[in-house]
Symmetry: C2
Subunit: 115 residues, 2 copies
């Protein structure tokens, strides 16, 4: 039965230039039978951030826990548990956690954007 | 800024054979810039269910709120907030809410499976 419980997901620290205090896990992707995309879970600890970068694919996001900021194309907005976002392709973007609690979200990318 | 707050999402009752007490909204899809898939939100009220059916595309699910059951290929398991699931293509499946609270989940489908 292809069900994954949150507690079964083991996040690994992301070691990449421009990333701080961020861990991730690939939860559903080609290995699980999703042929086109990969659903990843990210956790940014307080003070952490993802890279301020861009690429030619979009992100589809859902905020699962906590709150943080999302910068897209120079505009920054707060996002919190329950919010959805689409980061367009070829647009600079960054998630940051300036709260004092963990900030967790889903990030879906096409296969060429998964790592 | 392509952010959608949960409270902005207006769910519409699903009127389809085999469906009971279920509402949904398409949140992110081609109209919002996701070229390949559609992310929908479903809410099943207590006692409700989605159709027991199958199709040739997969579902990717995340349980946002409450709990219910997911039947895939004759096996039924409880799923609750925080769980992920992949419903394989060409496999009979159904969500049911036998709890006394609303059961809400994300359901992602490729464009040909969106309605």
């Amino acid at each position: 039965m292809p069900i994954v419980k949150r507690e079964e997901i083991e996040l690994q620290e992301v070691k990449m230039d421009g990333v701080s205090k961020t861990a991730k896990a690939n939860v559903i992707g080609p290995a699980q039978g999703w042929s086109t995309d990969t659903l990843r879970v990210f956790r940014i600890s307080p003070g952490g951030y993802t890279p301020h970068h861009q690429h030619d694919w979009e992100h589809v996001n859902y905020i699962m826990k906590g709150k943080g900021t999302l910068t897209i194309g120079g505009e920054t907005r707060e996002v919190a548990a329950g919010d959805f976002a689409l980061v367009p392709p070829n647009t600079m973007h960054q998630f940051r956690n300036s709260s004092d609690r963990d900030f967790e979200f889903i990030c879906i990318v096409p296969e060429r954007g998964a790592y």
